[in-house]
């Protein structure tokens, strides 16, 4: 069970076990996150990969306690930096957000408040956690802006978000995340809305910063290719569960779960030219009526009767876990 594969606690920054977030809607209960477990050490980069709707963002929001109204979160164990997050008061949680645990959202054009200047949005983030003067907060903002490689940061502070390009805005968002030197940054698909060259720039900055500051990072994406070069470890999500997790090399090189196989081989490239792409049939199931047992079983090329029983995560190699009755390398 969960505890069985728990890594030795100790230098664990984040220790999540059995995290569940569900939405009670009129049609029924949507289990957006259905008992996932994550462990992150300091300075580690975790790639969280999965299809749209698999619950990646909700995982991030659950950790930040930012899940919207009908949503409810609970966990067997939710420790961050030695704190039991489930015991925190709302005010303590607010203190935590943005200070120890920061988040970067997907679309930089909607996350920055369009009617507030950049400096306002940065200064308030500093002042929300530190009793400092505006000047000091501003100075801090300037410093961080420089760190994320923004040219002429002084000018950028005085403009509104719409004056900036998408890449620039995302860098501002990264800077805001870094303002209070958090221990963990949750980046929810921060480059999906950006161009390849700009994405490259952002990845470069993030990689550099994580190395320099030792900040841990959860990088949420649906593109395995991105995290393969960035993350230390990768977790693959499907329908609210983690179906496979391991080091980047293990996942990319020796994926065990059929879903991971599908993800890997459906990526088009110049090498797949001239061949049909491998495709996972069907589409993402609705979380309202998942098939019994393994949720992937209706799309799985290895599915059998056994799959109607819930599979459990099993360690296939040190640090490499997969939850499938028919796990194995792709033929």
């Amino acid at each position: 069970m969960n505890a069985a594969y728990a890594m030795p606690a100790g230098d664990l920054l984040l220790d999540v076990q059995g995290l569940r977030t569900s939405f009670h809607t009129r049609e029924g209960v949507v289990r957006a996150v259905d008992g996932i477990s994550l462990q992150i050490r300091q300075g580690e980069i975790l790639g969280l990969v999965g299809e749209s709707g698999s619950g990646k963002s909700i995982t991030g929001f659950s950790l930040m306690k930012l899940v919207d109204e009908p949503g409810r979160t609970q966990a067997d164990r939710l420790f961050f930096n030695g704190l039991d997050l489930q015991k925190l008061s709302p005010e303590e949680y607010r203190q935590l957000r943005g200070r120890d645990m920061a988040m970067i959202f997907q679309d930089p054009s909607t996350t920055l408040n369009p009617v507030l200047r950049i400096d306002t949005q940065m200064i308030e983030a500093v002042q929300a956690h530190n009793r400092v003067s505006r000047q000091a907060a501003r100075a801090r903002s300037l410093e961080v802006l420089k760190k994320v490689g923004i040219p002429s940061p002084e000018e950028r502070l005085n403009v509104y978000p719409h004056h900036l390009s998408g890449g620039m805005r995302q860098r501002i968002a990264i800077a805001i995340a870094l303002l209070n030197s958090p221990k963990l940054i949750i980046a929810d698909e921060p480059t999906t809305a950006l161009d390849v060259t700009i994405q490259g720039q952002i990845l470069y900055e993030v990689q550099k910063l994580c190395r320099e500051t030792g900040t841990a990072l959860i990088w949420i994406t649906h593109d395995l290719a991105i995290v393969s070069g960035l993350a230390d470890r990768i977790a693959v999500m499907y329908a609210g569960r983690i179906v496979e997790t391991g080091t980047a090399a293990q996942i990319i090189g020796a994926a065990q779960h059929p879903y991971t196989h599908g993800l890997i081989s459906s990526i088009p490239s110049v090498h797949t030219r001239g061949h049909d792409l491998f495709q996972i049939p069907g589409s993402t199931p609705s979380l309202l009526n998942l098939p019994k047992g393994c949720p992937f079983r209706t799309r799985c090329y290895r599915a059998s009767g056994q799959c109607e029983i819930d599979p459990v995560l099993e360690e296939v190699a040190p640090g490499h876990w997969a939850s499938c009755w028919h796990k194995g390398l792709q033929p």
């Binding site: 390849v196 990845l203 070069g229 459906s266 990526i267 490239s269 495709q279």
Partner: protein
């Protein structure tokens, strides 16, 4: 020759002959967007000459030939004019200047019948599977409306016709009375494909047709495109910012930068020996699966504003090899590399590798 065997996608029915004219040929195509200057602003100019019309050169002179049965990939950063080009080709947007010729005849001078043939013959598939389908129409109407309007089928036969199309794109015809919101993204994109196919087009412009889809669904749709091409002998004008997708599907790739094509060549050529520094950078940035950690080393700078493009080579502010000349003189698209390859000679195609970069010119040193 062994090389050729790995090209199972060669269209079956449309083996091109030596002297066949391109299906579509674009010459000197421009598209400007102007904020018009009204009377009062002009009066204002009289005193203070400030209000020049702000002209945005979305497409600034493009020549390209599309041959029957091939897939041309257009790649470039956001805002470089890919969609504008695609829309002009599809006849939705009139060009500011330049000429589009369909089956050898200039579109501007077509008579009504031929114009209709062109308009129906070139169809488009859009990026956003959500906003490109009218949320208040049933699938059967979305797909069949135009075919009925253009008398391709009678109203009575429409359902049958639509059912056939749905089958063709892998949708269950039983769903034809549903509304778009009842479909998933991938299914919607198939509806879009069926809508385009309904008019029996020869050329389909795919504007970021898979960009909004998940990897697994993207694979399904890409496979569908390839299958349809094979079955129907379609020609694709495939626009994407994702070099990976383009490399998978396209025969030829054109790289656009700020409204111009900076490099065009066979897909293999582009990936094996990219000539333009921008192309090289793009290929380097391309995220690929790897088992090791990667050192990111991006090109600096951002795409300049098309309203106020840099003089000379538009890429020079970001180019690691920029020279003085690049700041003044805009390089022209010229053939590069060795003589046309065997394959091209065989097929009489003029799709030689071309690139617009001063580095290809014999430098002053060499000249001496």
């Amino acid at each position: 020759m062994a090389d050729n065997s790995s090209r199972p996608l060669e269209p079956v029915g449309t083996a091109s002959t030596q002297d066949e004219a391109p299906l579509l040929s674009v010459r000197g195509l421009h598209r400007h967007f102007t904020q018009p200057v009204d009377l009062i602003q002009r009066a204002g100019n009289f005193f203070k000459g400030r209000h020049k019309p702000q002209t945005l050169h979305a497409v600034a002179g493009i020549d390209i030939d599309v041959h029957g049965g091939e897939v041309i990939g257009i790649v470039g950063e956001s805002g470089c004019g890919k969609s504008t080009l695609g829309r002009m080709i599809a006849g939705i947007l009139p060009p500011t200047s330049g000429d589009i010729a369909y089956k050898g005849r200039s579109v501007a001078q077509l008579d009504a019948g031929a114009r209709r043939e062109y308009q129906l013959g070139v169809q488009m598939i859009f990026q956003d599977p959500f906003s490109s389908l009218n949320p208040r129409m049933r699938v059967v109407d979305i797909i069949g409306e135009a075919a009925v309007v253009h008398r391709i089928v009678s109203r009575a036969k429409m359902e049958e016709y639509v059912a056939g199309l749905m089958q063709k794109v892998g949708l269950d015809p039983a769903y034809r009375f549903r509304y778009p919101h009842q479909f998933s993204g991938g299914q919607r994109q198939r509806i879009g494909v069926a809508r385009a196919l309904a008019l029996e087009p020869a050329l389909i412009v795919c504007d970021e047709a898979v960009a909004a889809l998940d990897v697994s669904i993207q694979a399904q749709v890409l496979n569908l495109f390839i299958r349809l091409r094979r079955e129907l002998g379609l020609t694709y004008f495939f626009i994407s910012h994702n070099l990976g997708v383009v490399s998978h599907i396209a025969d030829r790739v054109a790289i656009m930068y700020l409204g111009r094509i900076v490099e065009i060549a066979d897909t293999d050529t582009i990936f094996s020996c990219a000539n333009h520094p921008y192309t090289q950078a793009l290929i380097k940035e391309l995220p690929v699966l790897r088992t090791d950690q990667r050192q990111f080393d991006p090109i600096r700078g951002e795409l300049p504003s098309p309203i106020d493009p840099p003089p000379g080579c538009p890429f020079h502010p970001r180019c690691p090899h920029a020279m003085d000349r690049c700041k003044i003189e805009r390089p022209l698209l010229k053939p590069v590399g060795e003589s046309p390859r065997e394959y091209d000679l065989l097929h009489g195609r003029r799709n030689v590798h071309q690139s617009a970069c001063h580095l290809n010119d014999p430098g002053p040193m060499e000249k001496q």
